[in-house]
Symmetry: C2
Subunit: 202 residues, 2 copies
């Protein structure tokens, strides 16, 4: 059976998104300084330098994400929304979206299909494991979804990418999660990001 | 003029101390698992591997610390207390302790003298700069003191040592500090800690 991996880019103060997400500002209000774009700049500005971490990000055979990561639509699916990633999303696998509002599966180009799971995180994980076979499952975020899986003891490995600024408010990794023992299994500095991988021991 | 440096060991979730500090548990309640000792284990268990960071920690020519870092005594200085570090503290310099309660300077062995500053963080910094001459001033902690200096825009460089566990509650670095732009000037992985140095840009 594959591992359950969570992968998240966070600010130096632990946030993976600010407050008040909208379609225009998917990472929340940024006060006009575009910090949401800066969060993932390490991938786009320096792809060669961060090749290993980017490859890991896309190595999972199934993906789970929260409703907020999937999109800004709240409540019923009352307008068309197929994720932030266009017609050919980078997942190329089954993506299980946690939501309280039922919706039929949405096939996309390139092998991605979005499934909408309304009966909780454990059900989503069981479905993702089934889809992944022997491969890994990625809890792709956001931080509040990762925190739910951490609190439930369901994550084997946590990969953090720490970028050099703080935002002071928003959705924070580990927030509300009981104390965890971790093992630092890898840590690597790139020019504008520090990558740290933890095994979750308990 | 020297730089103003803050240096702090934090958990993966950003805490440098738990809640309810006492003389028996200087890093706060640990639920019996001794996490306070684990926080600084990287210095004591692997001094060779972390030689550079330990040397930096002791390179400042004057030190500022908060009342809680100095000791568990609250309110008036109504019982003898000369810090956690014995008769010959590792500072070998002037140490300015932030407090609301006046007390005469306390000379120790080895060149350390504790001065008690009752008129605020800027006064403490002015006195520490005077004492340091051309050398650096270290804001030694705890996190709530560092956060006050960060919020006031008075720190040039922040050195974090991130250790692999979380505690979920306590005193957290960056808590309540407005958003900061940082530059990652150094980052290095040791076997059970990741060292990251940031220059504070704004």
């Amino acid at each position: 059976m594959g591992r359950v991996i969570a992968d998240q880019t966070i600010t130096a103060d632990g946030y993976s998104a600010g407050l008040n997400q909208t379609e225009e500002q998917p990472f929340g209000e940024d006060g006009g300084d575009g910090w949401g774009d800066r969060l993932h700049a390490w991938m786009f500005d320096n792809p060669e330098e961060n090749r290993a971490e980017i490859a890991q990000l896309h190595s999972a055979k199934a993906v789970i994400m929260g409703r907020n990561m999937f999109g800004p639509v709240r409540g019923d699916w009352d307008r068309p929304w197929n994720g932030w990633w266009g017609d050919n999303p980078p997942f190329h696998s089954s993506v299980f979206v946690l939501t309280h509002h039922p919706r039929d599966p949405q096939p996309m180009e390139g092998g991605t299909t979005y499934y909408f799971v309304t009966d909780g995180i454990e059900s989503a994980l069981a479905q993702a494991r089934e889809a992944a076979g022997d491969g890994d499952v990625s809890i792709h975020g956001g931080a509040s979804t990762i925190n739910q899986y951490l609190a439930a003891g369901l994550i084997d490995e946590l990969r953090l990418h720490i970028v050099p600024y703080t935002i002071g408010a928003g959705v924070r990794i580990f927030d509300g999660v009981p104390p965890l023992n971790l093992e630092q299994v890898a840590s690597r500095a790139a020019s504008a990001v520090t990558h740290v991988t933890y095994r979750v021991l308990s």
